[in-house]
Amino acid sequence: MTEFYREYLAVAVLIGAALALVGLMLGVGKLIRPVRPQADKYITYEAGSDPVGGWGQSNVRYYVYALLFVIFDVEAVFIFPWAVGLEPLGIFGLVEMVVFILILVLGLVYAWRKGVLRWA
């Protein structure tokens, strides 16, 4: 196994350990906690009144923000390798990134003017 894979083995081990801890605690909890089934306990909580309808609905706004996020997040990912290599790249890298960020800002300004960032 190369060093590279060994480093990520630690991540895999941590995933296993976290899941094991969750399982262990739930297992211990199962031994201790009381069980008194009553049909009323399993009704969806709605501040005391009987629940109305099935699943809730929500504002479509959230979807627009999610779209906006995907664009900006992917672009932010490109900034990271540039930030690491800025010293060797020098002026060339800097100019490239200024252009890149300006295009990013242009996208934000466009979304802003289009009213995407307005909640109402």
Binding site: T44, E46, S58, A66, F80, V98
Partner: protein, 341 residues
């Protein structure tokens, strides 16, 4: 150094995993006890948490723990059972994975990944998935509203968080957290290297951005719209009881602990203090890092206990119209200064 070489990497890894397994609940307890119970009681004149057990209400946390133990495990009849059961595990998992890269000393780190900070930010945003799973599978209107608000908030503030760290990465020239600490230890501010270069001095804008964004990522009070207890009755966690609820608590405070540690590492020099190197740094490192992260956590909780809640639209426009532009400008200025000087 001499410690690490004696035993094989398998044993080392096992020990490190055990350490992480203890640090996270412990860190969550420390933050919960010091700040949520004691500091909040003092700042907001709350009498309850100061009472149990006599001296300063030391028994309160034990009582809370015992209460979680004896709670019945209730799953609503309408819930999507598998997803409902898995959601807390996803949240806890995301907290655990962050701790893999936080260095506590020159040799004290679970795995010194080259992409360190990038990895930490990536796994920390996994918790969004857990929150969405919890909110959706509960089949509860409050929970669904809260999960969507939470997801929108977490992704909106993910960007300022990323942009705030880029300034540090430009200055250090690496993503590796261990090397970022060393860059601060060996750095110099305008040629003066007396205390190195803790990036809080040169990246103060980045530090502020990071704290604001971290506050939102943790759904702490100016940004606690998703769990607003007066209207959403604690949001996506509303249908959870007992230990499953406890996992969300551990996730919340464990992640607060991790974010404070990352902020301390990126901006305050992590485990290093001037004049301490080698084995001594390995011994003192964890304590130094702990002191620094408690200072950062104090700031975060101070804000949490002092400010009123932002409205949902104010919250989104703060992220998109203020923090992200500032973050981009900060990157440009840092880049220009880095190349020019």
């Amino acid at each position: 150094m001499m410690l690490a070489l004696e035993i094989g990497w398998g044993t080392t890894l096992a020990i490190k995993t055990l350490v992480v397994l203890t640090i996270i609940p412990l860190g969550a307890l420390i933050l919960g006890y010091t700040f949520l119970l004691k500091m909040m009681s003092h700042m907001q004149s709350r009498l309850g948490p100061m009472d149990p057990g006599g001296f300063h209400g030391w028994f309160q946390l034990v009582g809370d723990g015992l209460k979680f133990l004896q709670k019945e495990d209730i799953m609503p009849a309408q819930a999507d059972r598998k997803v409902f059961a898995m959601a807390p595990a996803v949240v806890v998992l995301s907290t655990f994975l962050i701790f893999a890269v936080i260095p506590m000393g020159p040799d004290l780190v679970v795995e010194n990944l080259d992409v360190g900070i990038f990895y930490a930010l990536a796994v920390s945003s996994l918790s969004v998935v857990g929150v969405l799973m919890a909110g959706w599978s509960s089949a509860n209107k409050f929970a669904l509203l809260s999960a969507l608000r939470s997801a929108a908030q977490l992704i909106a503030y993910e960007l300022p968080l990323l942009l705030a760290t880029v300034g540090v990465i430009i200055q250090a020239g690496t993503l590796n957290l261990q090397e970022i600490v060393l860059a601060q230890q060996n750095g110099a501010i305008f040629g003066w290297s007396g205390i190195g270069d803790p990036f809080i001095l040169t990246q103060f804008v980045g530090f502020t951005l990071f704290l604001v964004a971290a506050q939102a990522e943790l759904s702490q009070t100016p940004f606690d719209m998703p769990v607003a207890e007066s209207e959403l009755v604690s949001g996506y966690m509303v249908e959870y009881t007992g230990f499953r609820f406890l996992f969300f608590f551990i996730g919340e405070f464990g992640t607060a602990f991790a974010f404070a540690a990352i902020a301390a590492t990126l901006f305050l020099g992590g485990w290093s203090i001037p004049g301490v190197t080698g084995d001594m740094a390995n011994i003192l490192g964890p304590f130094v890092l702990f002191a620094k992260l408690m200072a950062v956590a104090f700031l975060m909780f101070w804000v949490r206990f002092t400010y009123p809640r932002l409205r949902e639209d104010q919250l989104q426009s703060l992220a998109w119209k203020v923090l992200i532009p500032i973050g981009l400008i900060n990157i440009l200025i840092t880049g220009i200064l880095k190349v020019a000087i």
